[in-house]
């Protein structure tokens, strides 16, 4: 990935995470890691966002919320699943109210490992997502032509 024509904005949703990954996602935005210098903004509105950063696993209650947020995002969009819970259910996979990773509900493009995921790996995941976003964007313009 060398050059991006736009600043990627991301939306963050806590599915059923323990907060560990969430505060690390926020830590990425604050002065030590500061992804805002790359133009990455944490935005509350799904319609403005390109990257869906999601932590925690899926349960019956938050399933419609995740789908709703995903459907509201405009194409092209990328989903980044952060932490062990979002990828597979993690330490809680045997709990009765945990159905597994985010990929049970929506397609996931990038998986970030770790419990809790470190800010470095979250940034790495988002950078990988930028590559996927560019790829998707190219495919879309091809279809349009």
């Amino acid at each position: 990935m060398s050059y991006l024509p736009k600043s990627p904005w991301l939306i963050h949703y806590d599915a059923s995470s323990c907060n560990g990954c969430d505060i690390e996602v926020l830590a990425c935005l604050t002065p030590l890691y500061d992804v805002e210098r790359f133009g990455v903004l944490n935005i509350g509105n799904p319609k403005h966002a390109d990257i869906f950063v999601i932590t925690g696993s899926v349960n019956e209650q938050n399933k419609p919320v995740i789908q709703n947020l995903y459907n509201q995002m405009a194409e092209p969009k990328v989903v980044v699943a952060i932490g062990a819970c979002a990828t597979s259910g993690g330490i809680f996979r045997e709990c009765y109210n945990v159905q597994g990773g985010i990929d049970k509900v929506i397609p996931v493009d990038v998986y970030v490992p770790g419990c809790a995921a470190r800010p470095e790996s979250i940034i790495d995941g988002v950078v990988k997502a930028l590559g996927v976003l560019e790829e998707k964007h190219k495919n879309m313009t091809k279809v349009a032509k």
Binding site: D14, A15, A27, I43, N59
Partner: protein, 359 residues
Amino acid sequence: MGERTIIPFGPQHPVLPEPLHLDLILEDEKVVGAVPSIGFVHRGLEKLVEKRDYHEMMYVIERVCGICSFIHGQGYVQTIEEIMKIEIPDRAKYLRTIWAELSRTHSHLLWLGLMADAYGFESLFMHCWRVRERILDIFEETTGGRVIFSVCKVGGLWKDIDNDTLKRIISELKIIEDELKPLTDVFIKDFSVQKRTRGIGVLTYQEAIDLGAAGPTLRGSGVALDMRKLGYAAYGELDFEPIVEKDGDCYARTLVRIREIYQSLDLIRQCISKIPDGEIEVKVRGNPNGEYLSRIEQARGQVIYYAKANGTKYLDRFRVRTPTFANIAPLLKMLPGSELADVPLLALTIDPCISCTER
């Protein structure tokens, strides 16, 4: 009386990283009622005690909440140690206290940042989180983790902090205190910040007691109740008093948390000056049998752990009652009568930790 409107707040909301959902009933701009709905983060980890033995369970309990993970772990092992009548070495008690107080500092700084963000003071949010990274650096140096440490175990600790590192922590605390001073001055003295916090969401002394508030929400209303005074871990040998503010508004609760940060830094210094040399763990034999209910003070308030063991390595029942659960009733008391624009502020002022509440 105007027409009533219902506005959903959450579960995905920019001001809170967590899914808190409130249905706000409005008359024009005034909130007249609020109905919370929960269950977005429920995992059901208490039932995992049937599948994980009492040693492994410690790592699950740490993940009740990623913000005060250490204090949750500490509360759980203390409960099991009480059932098994294990007396841990003094050094382990002091180290647990140091980590617990560092956790409290980091949690309060995180809250101060989010609070600043709630009234749109973004640079203050950034600065609070910048100072907080220094505490996370201490965590990383001493435990290897930034938010989840897994250093507690039944019978003591996995890791020791050597005396050189303890000395370095003291000098680091000095830097943190110096950097913190100008930031907390903004929270205390700034005119526009006071405009947003003073007289907002008042909870009186009697209401706080009647509704069973916990932690800074309770102490902000003038009730001096701090579980650390029970003297668990090394708190019995430290010199401190619960921090109390009288006004019961958002400003008072902010003030309580700010003063608690300074108190925590002082407690860490006291611990480091008194810490004895020696072992950090004792051998644990057998399985727990019996039941125990322990109360400890988390950054958000009193948290209760109940464990019932049956002599096998799997517990019969484990239960956590978290401070945010206790504070939801006071929140619902504060919301009616407030402006819609103050709702995020009020929701934050109890320092909600939804993943604790729903587990």
